[in-house]
Symmetry: C2
Subunit: 428 residues, 2 copies
């Protein structure tokens, strides 16, 4: 007698449709692998009458996701609506209280309410699974929470927004300015309705905040993340970085320091020959470092119907197979508050500035850096005509504090036009 896991799926966009397709097509495979029939009891979406390219015959329709989530004939509520609050959160909470497990792809909801939802789930003996919320088809949550369970995690890094990586690699390969490539990406439908979610680093930051919780045994704390988008990057930065053997990536880094959890999502220089440096286009990459395993690199599609549905299905199969783990790898009540440490881990920096074209300008900048205790690793002054001289400096490792002091002092030299651009060089 085979047992059944009955789903209620809320949200029939790309991912939801992908999940329905797999469940319809692969019933036999899923039965063989999980020992269960995986069925859909009911679905819900904003619009009922719409050709989604997949039959919904045999599934009840619910207009209200909360009603869907609490149906008698639903064992697992599959939340694919998105949005940190509103119906997604209401239905997720209702599902957990009604004794349903939850599978979700909703990074915003988990980044903002992850701790509360985990406490709620665990108090009701339910699980929340969210492989699809982070890095699309890459099984990164599983690799971190389960595959590296014997490690003290030392650092988590990732390029987790395909749109930003597309924009940056396209700027470099086509030699186009940010604005042009941004417009291209928009035309191609790569951008969220609010593009700031992508290019402002918010979407990728949500993902990093979720990973950091499991990695470091801390409560999700997206609010403590240092966040900087890619909008200020110029084609000159990208070219200069390439000249010096680097690539610029919107890189997320989470690491535990003596002063607390450091989380940042910001443009960084990484060596062009490193796996992160070689990552092209919309592909995602996550680097997991632990005291025993050293370094694992995972690469794969970060979005799209198939890959994201693959991650949702992995969670559904785990539940069908009886895998029941705490939401963030250990009971939510035992997670420590994540103090928001300002980035203090030392690093080398790339600086770009425009100097007045007059004698002694460079000397003044060099002096300011020296006085802040920052030594120069490489410097280039480019050919120029006109008023200012573009100067690039790569520093040796220094603290962010020293750098901020130096940047402040540079302002007061009177020889630097505008604000220097400073980008961290991450050691990968």
């Amino acid at each position: 007698m085979s047992k059944t896991v009955r789903l209620g799926i809320a949200g029939l966009g790309t991912v939801g449709v992908g999940v329905v397709k797999i469940i319809r097509r692969e019933a036999a495979m899923l039965r063989a692998r999980t020992g269960q029939e995986i069925t859909i009891s009911a679905v819900s979406a904003r619009t009922r009458d719409k050709d989604r390219g997949v039959s919904l015959k045999g599934y009840d329709w619910e207009d209200d996701p909360v009603a869907l989530a609490t149906r008698e004939d639903v064992d697992v509520f599959v939340e694919l609506m998105g949005g940190s609050d509103g119906p997604a959160k209401a239905a997720t909470e209702a599902a957990l209280k009604a004794g349903k497990d939850v599978v979700t792809a909703n990074k915003a909801m988990l980044a903002v309410h992850g701790q509360d939802l985990a406490v709620l789930a665990e108090s009701h003996g339910q699980v929340i699974r969210y492989e699809a919320a982070v890095a699309g088809g890459i099984p990164v949550v599983k690799s971190l929470v389960e595959g590296l369970a014997g490690n003290q995690i030392t650092r988590v890094m990732g390029v987790m927004n395909g749109t930003c990586n597309y924009i940056l690699t396209r700027m470099e390969s086509a030699g186009l300015p940010y604005e042009t490539v941004f417009e291209e990406a928009n035309q191609l439908g790569y951008l969220e309705a609010d593009p700031e979610l992508d290019v402002g680093g918010i979407d990728a930051g949500h993902k990093l905040a979720i990973l950091a919780a499991s990695a470091f045994g801390t409560q999700v704390n997206f609010g403590a993340m240092e966040l900087e988008g890619i909008g200020r990057l110029t084609i000159e930065d990208i070219r200069a970085a390439a000249d010096m053997g680097y690539r610029i990536k919107l890189l997320g880094v989470a690491q535990m320091t003596g002063r607390g959890l450091e989380q940042r999502m910001s443009p960084c220089l990484v060596p062009a020959a490193s796996p992160l440096g070689q990552l092209e286009g919309g592909t995602n990459m996550v680097v997991l470092e632990g005291d025993a395993v050293e370094q694992i690199v995972l690469r794969g599609p970060g979005a799209g119907e198939g890959p994201t549905a693959s991650a949702v299905m992995a969670d559904i199969c785990d539940i069908a197979r009886g895998v029941r783990l705490p939401v963030f790898g250990q009971p939510a009540e035992t997670l420590a508050p994540a103090t928001g440490a300002k980035s203090t881990s030392p690093a080398a920096y790339y600086l770009r500035m425009m100097l007045d074209d007059k004698p002694g300008a460079l000397a003044k900048v060099a002096t300011v850096l020296g006085e802040a205790g920052i030594s120069i690793y490489r410097m280039r002054q480019y050919d120029h005509s006109g008023d200012g001289a573009p100067v690039l400096i790569v520093t040796h490792r220094t603290s962010r504090d020293a750098l901020d002091r130096a940047l402040g002092a540079m302002d007061r030299t009177g020889v630097v036009d505008g604000s220097p651009v400073a980008i961290r060089i991450e050691e990968v």
Copy 2:
């Protein structure tokens, strides 16, 4: 009241010592993550009196691994002895029959006896976990069996023997012949006692056979694998491949074809710019392809104390967390026999041959290829002095049958010195 998972560890080499260290050092972390105390009841190894750099105080000693495996106070038997038969197999079978779960790093045992052991385990309601048997610290078994459970797997590829990859990348970077680098690797202790396990592709083949079972729902069948080592590769091949934008890797490929399961472990050319092509030194890489997820690439250390112990600990933690899956992802009784399909999937090939330095020689070779229906994509004849002219040919996609026909016919032209070298170019 906390519950306890009690281990019996057989084998205290590098990996066993690594596992003992983690369990001693990380009791609190493991308790937080699994909700269990993970303790060691007893250990076993060939030599008792030996400084292993870790205290064994508090653990009983067993000379006989079978006695260890069946102790009353052991819940999980951790088999880290190695060897396909002998004590490892005897103790594993004894453990399963006595109602113990098994965690092992033993690729040879699973490649040869995996199906029988899985049937035995499942008939007793026990699990066998073997993350450490494949690609060291990379959580590849978990990613495949659990993370991609919603996919029809289409292809599995991997560079899974660090020693071979070290030899090949070192030959290229230092311009040294195979024999010299082989000797270097030997001096560095990189080679197995029987080096053929490494350079003959057997060790990597064992790993691929294990992955193929879970990927394609087939019984492990190492005997059906096409196996070719790296011993015939010359520095000329490596240079020529590099010249044309390729790297040579000992690459394992498993894929389901209309004629059955194709499994091969052999030198292949891959694009130098691909993740596989860029893999240097002892690092491992596994590529998993599925109909939904498209392609996932996993990279990490394939050996060493920490990484391998990390994989063993992941399995132990899974058992402590109550994760209980069939050994190969679906019940062993439902796995189909793996018919050994000869490699029939078409591919481009790299050919290197020495032609007699006389008019018409090249024309004869070109004619032979044309008559076999093989078209030439690129050809190079190198500068030469002396008798023969080294010629490199890259073909368009062709079948292995057509290629074998052409190679046979080339022999009969009388213008080719010795046997041409033919290496498959894998599309990655």
